[in-house]
């Protein structure tokens, strides 16, 4: 009996934990703290943070507890991540929640959402240069898309072992958008530019809003078929929302479906950061590249807006370019905030939603392109 007792003791977390578990648990608690106390993307940081705790309780192998063991509960739930099913379901819900009106009213602003995706490809090049394999480099590049589900989807398809670090990097930086973007925005724009006011957008008719998801889907997916799972669901959710007659389906998509999937995705992505696969030199590279890609993406959006202004009669406020990175809706809020620092009566939020949402479409297309080249 004494033997069995010592055996049991040696299998507890207290006996098996080493410094790496402690580090990861501190990271997990930090995520939870940022989500709760700072309101940084709480719906994602809290599940991911708790998932990090669950994935880093030191457990013995063989019983089926760890997320990488075949018959564990976490493994079954993680299947929605590795199979790529969760991200499209989240896009379905996002589609059913998103109002594309502002974008439809000023389609020109969509180009800012395209420009900010430069971050993806420059990071991809940077990752290649740092010695990452092409599939890994593509997955790392997508961090610059500033769009969690897209990043997880592409990584699941191209480099499943990196899901943990890439998701954590992507969500960390998305949460830190209010910290990362403002200095770049102030640096690259003049006070005059930041003071530019945008015109009231025109009224968008119901019919336009119904037709848009169909046309948008066909155009984008004819051009980049590999964006089908993400954009198909996004536009389908939006059609459900706008057509009114399927309101109960839209309601399901934007409540029970997206909330349930968010819980499971956050938790398992967090748990996939088991210390031994997360605390590697690779992860350091991923975090450095991720930070760079957010900066590049922000700068690209801003600069492209300034270039557009050279050709436009009615100038646009270049701050809107920063919203092109997606990170919906945080980067749009940052635009609003930085704009109001100069002129408290200047409301940019609504206008910033246009590049913000087109940035989502842009990074899904970018992910599709990278995926089709890597397969």
């Amino acid at each position: 009996m004494e033997n069995m007792f010592m055996d049991f003791i040696s299998n507890t977390g207290f006996a098996m934990a080493d410094y790496r578990h402690i580090i990861m648990i501190i990271i997990g608690i930090t995520f939870i703290y940022l989500g709760i106390a700072k309101h940084y993307e709480p719906l994602l940081l809290i599940p991911i943070g708790f998932g990090i705790l669950m994935g880093n309780i030191p457990v013995f192998k063989g019983l089926g507890l760890g997320i990488y063991e075949d018959n564990s509960v976490l493994h079954y739930l993680y299947f929605g991540v590795t199979s790529g099913v969760y991200p499209p379901l989240i896009f379905l819900g996002i589609g059913a929640m998103t109002d594309f009106s502002t974008m439809l009213a000023r389609p020109l602003l969509m180009l800012l959402g395209a420009a900010a995706q430069m971050g993806i490809f420059l990071t991809f090049l940077g990752a290649l240069a740092l010695g990452f394999a092409p599939n890994e480099a593509a997955a790392i590049g997508i961090i610059g898309g500033a769009d969690g589900p897209t990043a997880i989807f592409l990584t699941a398809k191209l480099a499943p072992m990196l899901i943990g670090p890439i998701a954590v990097a992507a969500y960390s930086y998305m949460a830190l958008v209010p910290v990362i973007q403002p200095p770049i925005m102030r640096l690259l724009t003049s006070r005059q530019e930041r003071l530019i006011r945008m015109e009231e957008p025109r009224e968008v008719s119901k019919l336009e809003k119904i037709i848009f998801p169909i046309i948008g889907f066909l155009l984008c997916c004819f051009l980049a078929p590999a964006a089908l799972p993400l954009l198909g669901m996004l536009f389908f959710g939006n059609l459900l929302k706008e057509c009114v007659v399927a309101e109960r389906l839209a309601q399901a998509a934007r409540t029970s479906i997206i909330d349930s999937v968010t819980i499971l995705l956050g938790l398992t992505v967090g748990a996939s950061t088991q210390a031994d696969v997360f605390l590697t030199p690779q992860s350091v590279g991923i975090f450095v590249l991720g930070a760079a890609s957010f900066c590049v993406a922000t700068a690209s959006g801003l600069l492209f807006a300034k270039i557009m202004n050279m050709f436009l009669k009615v100038k646009i406020n270049p701050l809107l370019g920063a919203a092109g990175v997606s990170a919906v809706p945080d980067s749009a809020r940052v635009v609003q905030m930085v704009g109001q620092e100069e002129d408290p009566t200047n409301f940019l939020l609504m206008h910033a939603m246009a590049p913000n949402i087109s940035g989502v479409i842009g990074s899904a297309i970018g992910a599709g392109v990278l995926w089709s080249f890597m397969s």
Partner: protein
């Protein structure tokens, strides 16, 4: 392998160039399409209403009618059926609950419409009465 060498070896430049091009093409085409869409719709709308004016005289047609599900009449009929099973005057929360149970669409909004149109009226003591026709 690292640096420029690695990028070239894995076609990094080409992939990035194509990627950026495709993203821009996609959003530009979408942007152009959208910017034309409402003009096309407005044109069709004008044409349609013109031809209808010629056909039916001055009677105006509102497109939104095509899209809004069920007219007030259908709604009124459904709610009347439920109200008939309740005591009069009836309580609004209970009507809401029953209409949700019966699977009626968007009870809050519909009831609001019914009250707005005077088909359902408060009795001044916290309860409500049906004021519409018996067979709406």
């Amino acid at each position: 392998m690292t640096g420029m060498e690695a990028i070239s070896a894995h076609n990094g430049w080409a992939i990035s160039a194509i990627g950026v091009t495709i993203v821009f093409t996609g959003l530009t085409v979408l942007s152009l399409t959208i910017s034309q869409l409402h003009k096309v719709l407005a044109f069709m709308e004008r044409k349609k209403s013109d031809s209808q004016k010629r056909a039916e005289g001055a009677k105006e047609i509102d497109v939104s009618d095509i899209i809004i599900p069920g007219d007030m009449k259908e709604t009124a009929r459904e709610y009347k059926m439920i109200i008939d099973r309740m005591d009069a005057p009836f309580s609004l929360p209970r009507l809401l609950e029953l209409s949700e149970k019966c699977g009626l669409n968007r009870p809050y909004s519909n009831l609001n419409d019914l009250i707005g149109s005077g088909l359902i009226e408060p009795d001044g003591e916290g309860y409500y009465r049906w004021k519409g026709p018996d067979n709406p």
